[in-house]
């Protein structure tokens, strides 16, 4: 997903001696492959990950790692394994999360199997670096998202980001990483932007895979930035792995009017975020998900109500492997026009 493969590869590379086949970037070919072998109304991330797996296996991988938990994600691997085996591939698929909990014993066993010289202390050390790397990346991403639409020189943000990630790959202690992060944050802040004080502000919420994998949302954020809109997105890996519980509890406390119980996957936090965007006078909410995402479909009526109560327009996108890109662009453009008109 997006740039997160960098910390993941970093961790694996440093704790055990294996050759990593990097998952190729998702392309139309990936989607076609995934679509071809997936059941009909499974949600889109299933199709994307299946396509990626096939591409990795074709490149010679013999072990696939997958993290999946919550709603349907947790069950993906078993069916995908069956589908791939039916296709004749030979490999080992390891899902590192069972029933929503990270399975530490299993991970330890697997690492031992791959590399007999593995030491726990070394593993923890690099895990610590990786966790920090993700945290820093998310902080930088957040800054980029708010400002990339206003960059004076095209691609200045993306080029600097690329440069930073390359440097991240080579760090070997936490202090070095921290210093790098500080240096680059300053550099990012120095990038020239031309941002009016009262620019349009839009919040993006929804289902996490679609939010975080730019290919699956047809580069929606890039498109929004081209309209000179400041973007707020809450979902990132940091939220997913470390802050989840805290935010869900906060969400339940702060939006009692709209919900009493915790709901599946990220639905509860989305309700809270929608309310947050309403209270903080954002101009609009964009809700994106893959088609057939049950938890998100279940809260859409609640989001509608919030949008109505706070008088903030909300637009929904359901992405599928067959979604037409032109259709999305037209709808986004119209959404932007509407927000502009409402400002006047």
């Amino acid at each position: 997903m997006a740039n997160y493969y960098i910390p993941a590869n970093y961790l694996i590379k440093n704790i055990c001696d294996v050759e990593i086949i990097e998952a190729p970037f998702i392309t139309t070919q990936t989607i076609e492959l995934g679509n071809k072998y997936s059941p009909e109304f499974v949600c889109t991330p299933f199709k994307y990950t299946l396509g990626t797996m096939i591409e990795c296996l074709d490149k010679g991988a013999n072990m696939l790692l997958q993290f999946g938990g919550g709603c349907r994600y947790g069950y993906y691997s078993e069916l995908q394994e069956q589908i791939l085996k039916d296709l004749g591939y030979k490999f080992e698929l390891v899902n590192l999360i069972t029933a929503g909990k990270i399975n530490i014993k299993k991970i330890y066993k697997i690492i031992k199997k791959i590399d007999k010289n593995f030491k726990v202390s070394k593993g923890l050390y690099y895990l610590y670096i990786t966790v920090n790397m993700i945290k820093y990346m998310d902080k930088i991403d957040d800054y980029i998202r708010q400002n990339i639409g206003f960059e004076v020189e095209k691609n200045s943000f993306n080029n600097l980001l690329k440069e930073m990630l390359e440097k991240f790959k080579t760090v070997n202690n936490p202090i070095q990483l921290y210093i790098l992060y500080k240096i680059y944050f300053k550099k990012f802040k120095k990038i020239k932007i031309n941002k009016p004080k009262n620019c349009l502000k839009v919040g993006i919420i929804g289902e996490l895979y679609t939010l975080m994998e730019p290919f699956s949302n047809y580069f929606l954020e890039k498109e929004l930035a081209s309209f000179n809109i400041e973007i707020k997105r809450f979902t990132n890996v940091n939220y997913l792995l470390f802050d989840n519980k805290k935010i869900v509890n906060k969400a339940l406390k702060k939006s009692k009017k709209y919900m009493k119980y915790k709901m599946c996957a990220d639905s509860s936090t989305n309700v809270y975020w929608a309310k947050y965007l309403g209270i903080n006078k954002y101009d609009g909410i964009i809700h994106i998900k893959s088609s057939f995402c049950t938890p998100e479909i279940g809260v859409m009526p609640i989001l509608d109500k919030i949008a109505n109560d706070y008088n903030i327009p909300i637009i929904y996108f359901s992405f599928d492997a067959n979604t037409s890109e032109v259709g999305i662009k037209t709808r986004l453009e119209a959404f932007y026009d509407m927000l502009e008109m409402r400002r006047k």
Partner: protein
């Protein structure tokens, strides 16, 4: 005198309007796109020019509809906008107090809510072509009915059949079944009209507060059967303007007027050689289809690339 041209190029039809400084329509035209927007627009302009007095000079051109970008280049338009905005502006010019615009076109359907002349909310169909004009006409063909007679036939029915219309595939199999069982044709047709309305309200109109005055536009608005069920189910009057098909073109003409510069536009485009060449980029396995637009053999724009690689080459 100054005048402004608005062109709305849809998948099925192409519409053009020329207005004066006070938004009055000087002349208008409506022709089939027939899969070739460039030719359609060339023909359209020729028709419009015939009725245009030589005292007028064109001070602004706007394009909207699905081929807006391409035609925008062809005509050198000073504004290119999506059809939602154009329809809202066009309708507001004729009905300043409109609150709701329902639209069902050939490929898509939408709803626009307005308050005091400002768009406050809108939605478009998400699922598929179910309940749009192209679905209706393919079903009409299946039932061997002329699409023009569809509405009047529906009015004859007293007992419309219920048809599942959430998805084209389901609807079609259900329709075939109902026909095989021996329902009367008018009841099936009426059922289809009703199901389109229900589908629209449950889908596009879900959660939207529909307030009158309500205006119904798009190709399907010419179908009096569908109109009848809209009135019945919404329990309010629904207006269909005789010029409703021109709203998009009118709207974009008005927007072109608002956006005018000092440029003067030339409508002699008949002999411009306008060419789109497509080829696949081999840069990565995305294989983006790159469209290159040539005007009189000069490359003027490139579309379709997801990354910047192609431009560099």
């Amino acid at each position: 005198m100054n005048c402004y041209l608005g062109v709305d190029i849809g998948s099925i039809s192409t519409k053009g309007v020329i207005i004066d400084e006070n938004n009055n329509i000087i002349t208008s035209a409506y022709i089939w796109t027939e899969g070739n927007p460039v030719n359609a627009v060339k023909n359209l302009i020729e028709i419009l020019k015939k009725d245009l007095n030589s005292k007028y000079i064109v001070k602004g051109i706007g394009t909207t509809g699905s081929a807006r970008k391409l035609i925008g280049l062809l005509l050198n338009a000073n504004i290119v906008k999506n059809e939602i905005m154009a329809h809202a502006v066009g309708t507001l010019a004729l009905y300043p107090d409109v609150k709701t615009i329902l639209e069902i076109g050939g490929q898509d359907s939408k709803i626009i809510l307005l308050n005091n002349g400002i768009i406050t909310d809108y939605a478009m169909n998400t699922l598929c072509a179910a309940g749009t004009g192209s679905f209706l006409s393919s079903q009409a063909k299946r039932l061997n009915i002329n699409i023009e007679d569809f509405g009047s036939l529906a009015l004859k029915s007293t007992n419309p059949v219920k048809i599942a219309a959430r998805c084209t595939v389901f609807a079609e199999s259900d329709l075939i079944h109902k026909a095989q069982v021996g329902y009367k044709k008018e009841d099936i047709v009426a059922g289809l009209c009703k199901s389109i309305v229900l589908n629209y309200l449950n889908n596009v109109g879900k959660g939207k507060k529909i307030k009158s005055p309500v205006i119904f536009q798009g190709g399907v608005s010419k179908n009096i059967g569908v109109l009848k069920y809209f009135k019945e189910i919404l329990n309010t009057d629904v207006i269909v303007d005789p010029n409703s098909h021109l709203m998009g073109a009118l709207g974009i003409a008005i927007l072109a007027k608002k956006n005018k510069t000092n440029n003067i536009y030339d409508l002699n485009i008949k002999n411009i050689d306008f060419l789109t060449k497509a080829n696949e980029c081999k840069g990565c396995s995305n294989n983006c289809e790159i469209l290159k637009i040539y005007k009189d053999d000069k490359l003027i724009d490139i579309w379709g690339n997801r990354c910047d690689r192609y431009i560099k080459n």
